[in-house]
């Protein structure tokens, strides 16, 4: 089948699944297309942030052109992110976007439209140090926190990791994001928001809590994470349901069936999170093949103190026309019962995002997107542009 025919097929599948093509973000697709765990490419076993040697090299030559071809060999010399015999690994992730912030509303009889703004997303500087084969420390500072804060977000994460043997469980202790569902590297994912309070994340981008998590990746077909944390930050984004002195308990189990003959990678898993009066249960499934693309599905069911129940679902498809030009589409729907004591029974929100991840040069990505967000009160459709520079 030709590349163009395959592209049409993927788009048709997304249209059939979701109504309209959409795109977006999340790099969980990488594990499906490369057939590799997040921990092979990132220092954080959950993925995201500072890259390992393998993760760094696999992206270092990816681009429509190269710095060399432009005559900027100086950038080519930055082809390693490690110092001191590979003990110190450095990372940087700078993201910004131009988009309309907010939703339309009536004010004194006049319709107010949201204004387009340019603003930072994460501006992460990270480092990891291997103290011994079994002991490492890592930390990331999010400088963007100085300029723009999201309820529940922290300005840094950091942990000590004890990993005695790849076939045994490892433990991380520190400021960590509890493992819950798929970790999307995107602020706009509806699944991680409460559709009833669209400006308020359920789990904020760069959300972390003080605690400990055990991870097991000892068998190629299974991964398990379980952790216990304080709830200081979750209490800010889920104020009505979680108090600062509550504890967060989280767990996730993923099966990774893989067909090496066919080159097909899949995952199938479930997760839960409990903190105070907040209960979240999730299911995730994905399938991918190198050069062919990936298809991801995720469902989260959230129950809050106000007897409000939110069910959210996501379908995400990605098609790599080239390594540096990936078409993505995402459809999300959230349905929430209104909290006890209010009159209307239900509210619901739909998000459709379509775009392209375009890597003109290694370590630089432009992501033009069209985003449509709709609920009972308003509809907003806008184009947005994300810029991502990493090391």
């Amino acid at each position: 089948m030709s590349a163009a025919a395959r592209l049409l097929l993927v788009l048709a599948a997304v249209v059939a699944l979701g109504g309209l093509p959409s795109t977006a973000s999340a790099l969980p697709r990488m594990t499906l297309m490369a057939g590799s765990r997040c921990s092979n490419c990132h220092v954080n076993p959950q993925g995201s942030g500072t890259r390992t040697e393998f993760g760094f090299y696999s992206m270092a030559q990816n681009g429509a052109t190269t710095w060399d071809k432009l005559g900027w060999q100086a950038f080519h010399d930055l082809s390693d992110n490690r110092l001191f015999d590979g003990r110190l690994t450095l990372g940087m992730d700078l993201r910004g976007q131009m988009a309309k912030f907010g939703v339309p509303r009536w004010e004194n009889g006049v319709k107010i439209d949201p204004e387009r703004q340019v603003f930072p997303m994460q501006q992460n500087l990270g480092a990891a140090f291997k103290v011994a084969e079994w002991l490492s420390v890592a930390a990331t500072a999010n400088v963007a926190h100085l300029f723009k804060k999201y309820a529940g977000q922290t300005p840094f994460d950091g942990w000590v990791r004890i990993a005695p043997d790849p076939e045994l469980p490892s433990v991380r202790v520190g400021m960590i994001q509890p493992s819950m569902g798929i970790r999307h590297d995107d602020h706009t994912i509806l699944l991680r928001r409460n559709p009833f309070q669209p400006a308020l994340p359920l789990f904020a981008p760069n959300w972390n809590e003080l605690g400990a998590e055990v991870s097991y990746e000892g068998m190629h077909w299974l991964s398990i994470e379980a952790g216990a944390f304080k709830a200081d930050n979750l209490s800010k984004s889920c104020a009505g349901s979680v108090k600062a002195d509550d504890l967060v308990f989280s767990g996730r189990l993923t099966l990774w069936p893989q067909s090496l003959d066919l080159g097909i990678n899949t995952w199938l898993g479930g997760s839960f999170l409990k903190a105070g009066d907040l209960t979240v249960m999730g299911g995730h499934v994905g399938m991918g093949k190198t050069y062919w693309g990936s298809l991801i599905g995720e469902v989260l069911i959230t129950k809050t103190a106000a007897k409000q129940e939110v069910m959210s679902a996501l379908v995400h498809a990605a098609y790599p026309l080239y390594d540096w030009l990936v078409f993505e589409a995402r459809y999300e729907r959230s349905m929430a019962s209104k909290p006890a004591g209010t009159k209307t029974d239900e509210t619901d929100m739909t998000a459709v995002v379509a775009g392209v991840q375009f890597v003109p040069l290694p370590n630089v990505e432009l992501r033009p997107e069209y985003r449509l967000l709709k609920n009972e009160a308003w509809t907003i459709g806008q184009w947005a542009l994300q810029l991502h520079v990493w090391f």
């Binding site: 509303r105 309820a151 893989q258």
Partner: protein, 163 residues
């Protein structure tokens, strides 16, 4: 430990190269029509002015207003209005959508009589009962237009809100 497959290597086929260059051009060109596809719609009619509605703290839907800090929401003239019991003697009314990013204040707003301010739980912006912005959201945004407020009369038990 899972033995990872190699990450996707750059494809080298000339046809693929042609397709991707074409794709890059097409996607940039697609931005132009996208810019003209922007939508910003409200599904509720323009709110009517001069309408009023009575409330009674003895009624079930307003019983939260019996205590200071209690909130209730009413729909009047096509808009959602938040009623807040500010003190023993006073109830004030404000548009129910936060002036920052429209979080519903009946759910995420909390009134402090001591501070004389309603805090929006989404990004902690604070508003006085006359709508004045007491403090800006903690995420660095700046609210320039204060929220719309409405006239309320209240005798300690019953009251009227007017748009």
């Amino acid at each position: 430990m899972a033995e990872p497959l190699a990450p996707p290597a750059p494809a080298t086929q000339p046809r693929r190269e042609f397709l991707c260059k074409f794709g890059a051009l097409a996607s940039s060109a697609a931005l132009v029509p996208l810019a003209s596809c922007e939508v910003s719609e409200l599904h509720t009619p323009k709110p009517a002015a001069g309408l009023s509605m009575n409330f009674d703290v003895a009624a079930t839907e307003f019983k939260a207003l019996a205590t200071v800090g209690g909130k209730a929401k009413v729909a009047l003239g096509g808009q959602d209005i938040l009623l807040v019991r500010a003190s023993q003697a006073e109830v004030f009314a404000m548009i129910n959508a936060c002036a920052h990013q429209a979080c519903p204040l009946d759910q995420v707003g909390s009134w402090s009589e001591k501070d004389g301010a309603l805090t929006c739980g989404c990004h902690q912006a604070k508003f006085a009962k006359d709508g004045k912005i007491v403090s800006q959201p903690i995420n660095g945004d700046k609210i320039t237009k204060p929220p719309q407020t409405f006239k309320v009369t209240f005798d300690g038990n019953k009251g009227t809100v007017t748009t």
